[in-house]
Structure formats: structure tokens, C-alpha cells
Amino acid sequence: MKSQILVETPSHKWIYFGRDPEKPDKIIDTNQYMMVTERKALLMDPGGIELFAPMLASIVKHIPLEQLTHLFASHQDPDIISSLGLWDQTLPEAKLYSPWIWEGFIRHFGMSNISYEAIPDEGSRLILDQAEVQFIPAHYLHASGNFHVYDPATRVLMSGDVGAALEDANASIFVDDFDEHVKKMSFFHQRWMPSNSAKNDWIARVRKLDIEYMCPQHGRIFKGKQVGQFLDWFEKLEVGQAITKNSS
């Protein structure tokens, strides 16, 4: 699995994980992100069961395992958090931050040690050493309870399925040509995002944030002005309407 430092400040850094060459063919490629502070670390959308071993092996390239103290699951999907049962046996003292509405569902993945820290609908904050992140509501994008993670210091927004694209396993991790990239995003957003009003509500919220890196869970990372380009494109896109004719 590839990993690389995205951004670093004196107090903390963000690390990207993904593009695992050993990933079984039929499972969707996912990006994982980890914010590392002086003594702690927050792993965001840790991934599915199949990704557990490569993730664990990659994490200890950057930090000792005991430094991984916090997990975050943007929503309840298997590609987000089905590895929980394994993390539960690995990090029994860890805390999992996730939408309150999914607690009873996520626990089906097996969770007897880790503590579930329910995020209320309006969002919340988490302080790790000198760093603070905000859990930004992204409900119905696509799950009915959904959060993104914003770090004002590094100006990183971990945007879950928003900005996702279906890519080759060896694709670059950054968007290079935005217009070309749109082709890989349109169907995903039209099909997986169910609500135009939820989408516009999220865009209005996110426009108020100062974002340098927008990091989706699939596909490529948007940098600088590409973030604004994405928000403009997404605002115009009609979602919740991409059911193919032969499947109806």
C-alpha cells in the first residue's frame, strides 16, 4: 500500500494511504487518511477487512502502533469500517468517532473493546494534543448520517464520498486535469448522492471553510483552486437520478 505525507506543521501531519497493489480485484479502491500529532493519531475511514493487514503494515512505517488512539468512520459502509472487528482486537483502548445514528449498525462489525463516541447531528470537535479537528455534517452525502473531517490548521477537508471518483489502482493520488477528472466523478455523484438539497446545504457549509486539500475516500485529492472548481461543478450537478434504464 502506498503512503505519503500530505501536509505537515510543527504540531501535526496528515498522511495518505491507498492504491494498494495487492488489493483483491473486485473490491473498490479506497483512500485512508491519518492525522498524527505529538503523541496521538486519528485514522479516518480505516477501510474494509481486506485492507486491514496492508493498513496495519503501512501505519507502523510512520508511527508506533500504540500511538494510534482514535478512529473515525464517516458512515457505516463496509468499505469504510468493516475492518472494525480486527481493529477492536488490535487497539482495545481506542475511541471510534462516528455518526450517532450508526452505532447499532456499526457494532455488527464486532466491537467489544473500542469505545463508540457518537457524533451528534450538528457535528463536534476533537482535540488531539495541539491539533483540533471539526466533524462537519455531510448528511445524505451519501449516508443519512455522515460526517467529514476538517482541520483548520492544515486546511485539509477529508470529504468522504464527496469528490470520489472510480479510478485505476495505479492512478496518481492528486487531480491533475480537473475537466478530465469530472468524467470519472459524474456517475458516482449522480448515483450515490441521493439529495440535491442536502448537497447544496453541504456546499454552503463548506464554502465557508478555508480548504487547501479536499481528500475524498475514493479517487484523487483536490488541491488549491481545484477545491472551488469542484464545489462549482457539484453545485450544478443534479444528483439522485442515475439509475440505468435496464436496471429499473
Binding site: 496495519l56 503494515a57 507502523v60 512505517k61 502502533l65 472487528g85 482486537q89 488490535t90
Partner: protein, 209 residues
């Protein structure tokens, strides 16, 4: 380790099937109870000539109660084994993924920090497997005990037939019917118990293979 995993997944199924087989047994036990009650009522009607038979109905009732308790106990063990098999399978999966991570991280800066968690999971897996095996062994022993005790049913049925000869012809049919029902239901239970035992035999054979 893969052989052990196969064994656990077989026991997974065995535990569920044993529970189902013994559930049927409970229904049969209720039938024996009912037969014993009817027989007791019939023997009271007949009077002194059926005193020996009346005593027998107590034994029939006892046998039904014993069988029911044994079936419930084994059923409890089967359910416990089934749940534990899930935990064993989970621990085995964790171990498999951990072994992979350990191998892949051998050159990582902090690869050693995986080891305490790896040891915990290895220990837990061994502990669970040992506890699971104990339950399976206990279940097997209790099934054999139940089968042995069911032989009493045939003896009771035979004595019932002998006692039937001591009453008048009009009541003989009732008492013979009780004997037949005890035989019939006991055979049904034995079949279920044999089915359950044969599952363990199959598992042992496939383990040996």
C-alpha cells in the same frame, strides 16, 4: 492453522445441527410425558390388577424428564459452542490478517510495536480454541450418556407388555398401546441422538483424513 480453521467451521455447523436435532427430541419427550400421564390414569381406572403397571408409569415419566433435561443441557452446550465458534473464527481471522501485516511490515520503522497485539491475539485464539474444544468434548460425552439411558425405554416397554397380560383383555390394548408408544418415541429420540453423534464421527474422520 488452516486445518484448525476448517475444523472450527465444521463444528460451527455441527453445533447448530445438534441443537436442531435436540429440539426435536424435546417434542418427543413431551409425548412420552403425556403417554405416562395417560397410562397412570388408565391404571387408576383398572384398580389393583394394574398396580405394577402404575409403578412403571412413574419410571416412564422419570425417563421422559431425564431425557428432556439431558436434551436441554446438550442444547445449551450446542448453542454455547455455536456462539463460541464465531469468536474462534473471528480470532482466527484476526490472526491470519495479523500474520500478513507482520510479514509485510518487517522492514517498517515501528514493526516491533505490532508484537504485543499479535501476542494478545495469538493467546486469545489459543484460549478460545481450547475452551471450544472442551465444550465440544462435553457435548459428545453427554450425547453418548443420553443414548445409553435411552436403552431403559425398551426395557420399560417390555415390562409394560408383561404387565398388560395381568389385566383383563379390554384393558390390555390400552397398556400395550402405552408400551408401543414408549418404544416408538424412544426410537425416534435415539435416531435424533444417533444423527447428532454421527456428525461428530464425520468430523473426526475428516480430521483424520
Amino acid at each position: 492453522m488452516s486445518k484448525k480453521r476448517t475444523q472450527v467451521s465444521q463444528y460451527y455447523v455441527i453445533a447448530a445441527v445438534v441443537a436442531a436435532e435436540l429440539n426435536h427430541t424435546l417434542t418427543y419427550c413431551k409425548q412420552i410425558n403425556l403417554t405416562a400421564s395417560n397410562a397412570q390414569a388408565a391404571s387408576s381406572r383398572v384398580g389393583n390388577a394394574a398396580l405394577g403397571f402404575k409403578a412403571l408409569t412413574g419410571f416412564i415419566d422419570d425417563l421422559a424428564c431425564y431425557t428432556m433435561k439431558a436434551a436441554k443441557d446438550i442444547n445449551f452446550l450446542a448453542n454455547k459452542a455455536s456462539k463460541m465458534a464465531t469468536e474462534v473464527a473471528r480470532a482466527a481471522t484476526a490472526l491470519k490478517h495479523f500474520e500478513k501485516a507482520k510479514l509485510n511490515s518487517r522492514n517498517a520503522a515501528y514493526s516491533q510495536t505490532i508484537l504485543p497485539a499479535f501476542k494478545n491475539i495469538t493467546d486469545r485464539h489459543a484460549e478460545l480454541q481450547s475452551a471450544f474444544q472442551k465444550i465440544i468434548n462435553k457435548m459428545e460425552v453427554e450425547l453418548f450418556d443420553l443414548k445409553r439411558n435411552l436403552r431403559t425405554a425398551n426395557i420399560l416397554a417390555s415390562i409394560c407388555r408383561i404387565e398388560a397380560c395381568r389385566v383383563n383383555i379390554a384393558n390390555q390394548a390400552t397398556f400395550n398401546d402405552v408400551a408401543n408408544r414408549v418404544d416408538f418415541v424412544a426410537n425416534k429420540i435415539r435416531q435424533r441422538v444417533d444423527n447428532a453423534i454421527s456428525l461428530f464421527d464425520t468430523s473426526t474422520q475428516s480430521r483424520a483424513a
